[in-house]
């Protein structure tokens, strides 16, 4: 019986196939990592604030006294809103 494929050629083809499969698998893994990173970036930028009131007028205030007002910040984005810094002036 004649052999159409020599053993040497068979081994080389199997090795090439395996190499190709590994390359494909690594490429897919890199794509998954890239997608994860991009989704994280989208989540950070998903935070959004709505400030219904940015200024308040107390009117007449007695001197040497303390008064207080509460400002509301509404989180309307897809990510948690965080207050990073408040600097009074």
């Amino acid at each position: 019986m004649r052999r159409f494929i020599s053993p040497r050629l068979l081994i080389i083809s199997v090795f090439a196939s395996l190499t190709l499969l590994v390359a494909i698998a690594v490429g897919q893994q890199k794509n998954q990592v890239r997608d994860t990173k991009s989704s994280k970036a989208d989540a950070v930028s998903g935070a959004k604030v709505l400030v219904p009131e940015e200024a308040f007028d107390f009117g007449y205030i007695p001197n040497n006294s303390r008064v207080a007002h509460i400002y509301k910040l509404l989180s309307v984005g897809s990510d948690s809103l965080r207050i990073l810094r408040v600097k009074p002036g």
Partner: protein, 172 residues
């Protein structure tokens, strides 16, 4: 008076903005000098014993027009404000502030703001505080009867038989 605070958030579309406060100071010892609404008191001070109690401020409309009032800011978790809806020209009404029975904190410094419907939309802010110390009531000391110290008896000079100087007869 103008104050502001810079706020930075993790909102990429709005990284930094300002919250502003405006006000006009007046002498706290002269609340009756305000216009168009004069006050009998500039502020309200509660003590821990005042939980559930009310305090009043008399507001007087010193203008020539009826004023309608509304509460624009307060601290409902600490106190309730019973505000008269209107004050007639030249008349006075009482404003009541009731301290809540249960308070989020034992002491606070809050305020409430009312707005009038005059042409300037005048606002008035009244501070409300609760101090955590109760005035010390020192009981009066019991009266102590002091006994006079015993006095030493002094021998009185004998004047009945006064010695007469030599040469003199009798006493003149």
């Amino acid at each position: 008076m103008h104050k502001s605070a810079s706020v930075t958030l993790n909102d990429n579309s709005r990284d930094n903005f300002y919250l502003r406060l405006n006000g006009q100071l007046y002498e706290s010892t002269q609340p009756e000098s305000l216009n168009p609404l004069a006050l009998s008191e500039a502020m309200i001070d509660f003590t821990p014993n005042d939980r559930g109690e009310k305090k009043e401020i008399t507001i007087t409309n010193v203008s020539d027009k009826e004023l309608h009032l509304r509460l624009v800011a307060g601290a409902p978790e600490y106190f309730e404000v019973d505000l008269p809806q209107k004050v007639k020209a030249g008349k006075s009404e009482d404003l009541e502030v009731k301290l809540m029975e249960k308070l989020p904190k034992e002491k606070f410094e809050k305020s409430f703001t009312i707005e009038m419907d005059d042409s300037a939309k005048t606002r008035l802010t009244i501070p409300v505080t609760l101090v955590d110390r109760i005035p010390m009531q020192v009981p009066p000391k019991p009266a102590v009867r002091r006994q006079a110290p015993p006095q030493k008896k002094r021998a009185l000079p004998d004047t009945t038989h006064a010695a007469t100087p030599k040469g003199e007869v009798g006493g003149q």
